[in-house]
Assembly symmetry: C2
Homo-oligomer: 210 residues x 2
DNA sequence: AAACCTATGTAACTAATGTTACTGTGATAG
DNA sequence: CTATCACAGTAACATTAGTTACATAGGTTT
C-alpha cells in the first residue's frame, strides 16, 4: 500500500504522514456499481481515491436522484470529511462508477492530523474548495443550461472520468442521473446522433465528436 | 469590537483567540445593497458576520444571476475561506441583504490560527460543511422543485433572514434571484395572493401565511 | 423457435416555463 | 397638473420538458 500512496499522494504529503497513513489505513477495492455511502448513514472512515472513479449523487425524499459530481484519483470526499468532523449524517449517496482502489482512513486520525501536518490541512481545505466548486458547477448546469446542453456536458464528463469514448449506460440510467425521463433522453440522444456527434447502440453510446 | 466578538463568537472561540482577533481584525459596517465581493476578484480578508445578512449569488457569463444562499450572524463565507487559502479568484458575488456589521480578518492570520487553535479549525470546518450543505440545498430546490415551490421557499427564507414578514422587493428583483422572468414571478405571486397566502403591494409583499 | 425481457424509437398530448406586447396605476419631478 | 417612469397585471403565444402509450428490435431463456 505504501507504494500506491507514494505514487498518488507523495507530492502532497510528507514522508512522515505517508508512513502514518500506511500504518493506520486499510486498502479497499470496490467493483463498479457498489454503493459506498447511503444517505442517512454515519461514516467511520474517509476514502483517499487511488484509482477509478466514484459517483456522488443527491437523493430527495421520493428517491429521485441527481448526479452531483465524480471523484477521481487524488480526490477525497468532502461530505465524508465534514460528516466525520461534525458528526453529521451523510446527505449523499456514493457509488463506484468504475472498479476503484481506495485507501480508507479512520475518522479519529483526521482530526489529529489537521493539527499536526500542514500538508494535511492544505489537502483538506483544497478538497473542500474543489467540492464546493463542483457543487456550484452543478448548480450552474441545472440553473443556466437546457437539458440538451446538460446531456452534452454529462457525456463529456463521463468520457473523461471513464477514460473511454464509449459511454456504457442505458438511456434510463442517464435519465436518473440528470433527473429527467427516459423519453426525453432518447429524444435528445437521437438528435445528437442525427447531428453526427454520437452513434447509438444498445446499452452504449459511442462518442464521435462533442 | 471585543464586546461584539464576545457576544457573537464567545461560545465558539477561546479568550486567547478572541483577543488575537480583536488585535488584528477591523470592524466594518455596510449598508443594504453594497457589493462586498465581485466575481473574479481576489480577496484579502475574511468576514465574520456580527449582524445583518449577506446574499451570496452565482453569476454566469451572460451576467445571469442565481441566489445561492444567505449568510447570517455567526456565519462566515466559505468561498472566501477557500479563496484565501488556495489563492483562487472569487467565483461568487456577495451583496449586503440588510445593513450589516462585519469583522474582517486578514488572510495571513487564518492559516496561522488553523494550526494554533482547535476551536478555529472546528469553526472553519463547520463553516465549510454548512456552505456545502446550503449549496446542495440550492441544488435540491432547482432540481426537484417547481418554480412555485421555489418562490414559496424564497419568500420563507427572506422573511427569516430579514426578520420581517414583509418582503421589500420588486417582482423583477425576485426574478433575478430565482433566475426567471418578471412575468413568471408576477403570475405566481398573483396566484399566491388569490390563495390568501400573501398580500401584494407596490414594491413589497406582505406575508400572511405560507 | 417461441416466449420473454429489456432497451430503444416515436407520436401525440399535457404541463410548465419563458417571451412579447400591451395596459393600467401609483409615485414623483418639473 | 401633467408628463414621465418604474412597477405590476394580463393575454396570447412559443418553447421546453414531462407523460402516456404503443411499436419494434435485440438478446436470453426454455
Amino acid at each position: 500500500m505504501i507504494q500506491e500512496l507514494k505514487n498518488n499522494y507523495g507530492h502532497l504529503f510528507e514522508d512522515e504522514l505517508l508512513e502514518e497513513i500506511n500504518s493506520v489505513a486499510t486498502f479497499k477495492e470496490v467493483s463498479e456499481g457498489i454503493e459506498l455511502i447511503k444517505p442517512g448513514s454515519y461514516i467511520k472512515s474517509m476514502p483517499l481515491i487511488i484509482s477509478g472513479a466514484i459517483k456522488i449523487l443527491r437523493e430527495d425524499q421520493d428517491g429521485d436522484e441527481l448526479l452531483l459530481y465524480f471523484l477521481e484519483r487524488g480526490d477525497t470526499c468532502a461530505m465524508t470529511l465534514s460528516c466525520c468532523i461534525g458528526h453529521h449524517k451523510s446527505e449523499i449517496k456514493a457509488i463506484a462508477e468504475t472498479d476503484s482502489k481506495l485507501i480508507m482512513i479512520p475518522v479519529g486520525k483526521m482530526e489529529e492530523w489537521t493539527a499536526k501536518y500542514k500538508s494535511w490541512r492544505n489537502f483538506v481545505f483544497e478538497s473542500y474548495h474543489k467540492r464546493l466548486m463542483e457543487a456550484i458547477e452543478t448548480i450552474d448546469s441545472i440553473a443556466f443550461l437546457k437539458m440538451d446542453e446538460r446531456l452534452l456536458k454529462y457525456l463529456k464528463d463521463k468520457t473523461k472520468v471513464n477514460n473511454d469514448n464509449t459511454v456504457n449506460n442505458t438511456h434510463q440510467e442517464i435519465a436518473y442521473d440528470l433527473h429527467t425521463s427516459r423519453v426525453v433522453i432518447s429524444r435528445l440522444l437521437k438528435k445528437l446522433e442525427v447531428e453526427g456527434k454520437i452513434k447509438l447502440n444498445r446499452n452504449s453510446i459511442k462518442i464521435i465528436s462533442l
